[in-house]
Symmetry: C2
Subunit: 189 residues, 2 copies
């Protein structure tokens, strides 16, 4: 599958590695690079603040595509709240900005280190994915099949609120040195 | 330490086992039993719906006590939302109902099965605890020291919102058979 990853930071690099390991053709796109065409699946591996601008810039090119939001919309001044309404999520906001795209929430509950290692503690790193389009979710899972990652279906895009709460909690645990950035939440069957 | 656990269900039983294993004197209290005196630490191992009534009934006896809220306030009809305001939590509501008690949120991100087993997958079962009273949190941690459980400090009681989102997500994952009731979220350092 042709996969486009916007963002060349730790997260974009770690995500690209896994999609490549599963046999996909992955293009990573720098923040200020102008794109003429995207793959079937597009990962926004950028900070929450950059998403609305990207959505606006590429609205037409992203119509019909699977768009993966990985953001944790923390207020990094206070480290005490999210910058989205408490009954919504960054993913839900992005879906509103891109009504013709199939938005998924994924990768926000896994640190870059554990995506790269493929393990968190003794547990295989597990990606939780939420979204309203079942076919898009199946395509996402298939695209990671063959990587070291496991994927679990977290339900409809509405669950992005809970995924973002969990990502927020995990980041504050690391920031407060209760866990390391190589640790965090494992998902056990 | 003298510990009172209100509720004799799966969760109350599993929590009692761990406090006993750590050498505390644990009293378990049935739902319809009338109590004259509580220990220093009181666990509300009852459904969310029962908490307000207990708080009202025992407001005076619970003044100065550490009260542990373990609830996951799901709407079990829809399995799709929490029954608390999206910017608050069951624990925050309980603290309002018991202003003279020191409310902690704990045990809501660990299923009864993994509290009993002491492991989730290959990871020691880890309790996340949030609360505004630092001394109460330290006392809680000390009371579990010697049990098979690990405890991590999740921050102020405000973080109960995220803990309840995580508990909600975990329950829906099990209900949708993505994980079992013996599995769930591990916490890796």
């Amino acid at each position: 599958m042709q996969i486009s990853i916007i963002g060349t930071g730790n997260m974009g690099t770690a995500i690209a590695k896994n999609f490549k390991a599963a046999g996909n053709e992955v293009t990573t796109i720098g923040h200020d690079q102008v794109v003429k065409e995207f793959g079937e699946l597009v990962v926004f591996a950028v900070p929450f603040e950059a998403e609305a601008g990207l959505a606006d810039q590429y609205k037409h090119l992203l119509a019909g595509k699977i768009v993966v939001d990985i953001s944790n919309p923390l207020n990094f001044t206070t480290w005490d709240e999210l910058e989205v309404p408490s009954n919504s999520s960054a993913a839900a906001l992005l879906q509103k900005e891109l009504p013709a795209a199939k938005v998924l929430k994924a990768f926000n509950t896994t640190f870059a280190g554990t995506l790269t290692a493929g393990k968190v503690g003794a547990t295989p790193t597990t990606v939780l994915v939420a979204g309203d389009d079942e076919e898009a979710k199946q395509t996402f899972m298939k695209a990671l099949d063959g990587s070291p990652l496991r994927v679990k279906d977290a339900g409809l895009l509405k669950r992005a609120r809970e995924l973002e709460a969990m990502g927020f909690l995990q980041i504050t645990l690391a920031n407060r040195k209760q866990i390391t950035w190589m640790g965090g939440f494992g998902v056990n069957a």
